[in-house]
């Protein structure tokens, strides 16, 4: 054993292992924890099985695993495409805050959030389905390629009129960026998660799908029940009263993100 360690570099081998483990850890921090753990359980298992098969002399099994290991990068990219996309999108974070005093920031963002809460409440009472996406740190430009540019002040009246059933842009989502309603009629990626409740419709699935890949916050108004939900990080908080919606929005959205 000592001979083997000496042959393979001794202290240098420890440094090598430490450096690789830090790299693996840093890389996997970009993905969700559950995904990272799945990768870290599967990858060593494949390698250990391969080494054992090669040691024993299982020729065909070694050949199969050899090819699996060769294509491992490709396989991981396909399996974890959403996590990789999420990780890459996280590099385009909107860290630039516009100038303004903290009081004016609070005031302006409070007004936007109030308009959103009122709009959700009105839409819920009218049973008009709605999907309102609020950009946070990660840019949403990638999801705005399809849609209609609006670039207007956020008002409950504007949001309600967009989601009127006869409005040509009522299908799809509206996007709020830096305190402005920038886009309407945007299509969002649907979640592929098989654990999502079957009773949830396309609107909820789109909200979950988007928040699985970016850190945006989505307000969903159900057309069937009129219930208001907030979706963030792929998790849904449903049946919200207007007061709890206000509270939740204030808690989850920093004022600087609406400037």
């Amino acid at each position: 054993m000592w001979e083997f360690l000496r042959k393979t570099g001794g202290l240098l081998a420890f440094a090598d292992i430490l450096l690789v483990s830090v790299s693996i850890y840093s890389l996997l921090r970009l993905t969700r924890e559950s995904t990272a753990i799945r990768i870290l359980l599967v990858l060593p298992l494949i390698i250990i099985t391969y080494l054992l098969a090669r040691l024993i002399g299982l020729v065909t099994f070694t050949w199969v695993l050899d090819n699996v290991i060769l294509s491992l990068i490709l396989i991981l990219v396909v399996i974890f495409q959403y996590d990789i996309r999420r990780a890459l999108l996280s590099f385009s974070r909107n860290r630039m805050a516009r100038k303004g005093t903290s009081d004016t920031l609070e005031e302006a963002s409070g007004a936007v959030l109030e308009q959103l809460a009122v709009a959700a409440h009105t839409l819920s009472e009218r049973r008009n389905g709605a999907l309102i996406v609020i950009e946070r740190e990660m840019a949403l430009d990638h999801f705005m390629e399809v849609g209609t540019e609006i670039d207007a002040k956020v008002t409950s009246e504007l949001i309600c009129s967009i989601f009127l059933p006869y409005s040509p842009i009522h299908d799809g989502a509206v996007i709020i960026q830096h305190g402005k309603l920038t886009q309407a009629g945007c299509f969002l990626p649907l979640t592929q998660n098989p654990e999502v409740a079957k009773e949830l419709g396309t609107r909820h699935r789109a909200a979950i799908g988007l928040t699985e890949v970016v850190d945006a916050l989505v307000i969903v108004v159900s057309e069937e029940t009129g219930s208001i939900s907030v979706v963030s990080g792929g998790k849904i908080t449903g049946n919200l009263e207007v007061a709890s919606l206000r509270k939740l929005l204030r808690r989850m959205i920093e004022p600087r993100l609406l400037q």
Binding site: I37, I56, G57
Partner: protein
């Protein structure tokens, strides 16, 4: 205090990353090429009836082999062996050379050389 908090944060992911790094290091290290020396067992084929072969020298021949470390480990378990065909040989001293080409090895392992270069045996009546 801060160091221990840093280490404890996300501990499962950190431990699994370390484990993966060790496994990856093992994989790369064991797949790296290396050389080792093994004692070479010699057996004879087609020995004429009533005759035996006596090794001329007391020294055990050695074979130097090369290949991925993992296959060298497997070869160590199996040992190295060469079978020499003595069909039609006359009694007396027999000299064999080029043994490295006849050593039976695990696929992926090559014999570099055999020392001594020639192997001598004496065919005598039993």
């Amino acid at each position: 205090m801060r160091t221990s908090a840093f280490l404890k944060d996300n501990i499962l992911l950190k431990l699994l990353s370390l484990f993966s790094a060790i496994v990856l290091w093992l994989f790369v290290t064991l797949e790296t090429g290396d050389e080792t020396v093994l004692p070479l067992r010699i057996s004879y084929l087609n020995v004429p009836p009533g005759y035996v072969l006596r090794q001329d020298s007391a020294a055990q021949p050695l074979v130097r082999i090369s290949g991925p470390r993992i296959l060298l480990v497997r070869q160590k378990w199996r040992g190295a062996m060469v079978t020499l065909d003595v069909a039609g040989a006359s009694p007396g001293k027999l000299t064999f050379s080029g043994l490295e080409k006849q050593v039976m090895l695990v696929p992926g392992v090559q014999a570099v050389n055999v020392a001594p270069v020639t192997h001598e045996s004496v065919l005598v009546r039993q």
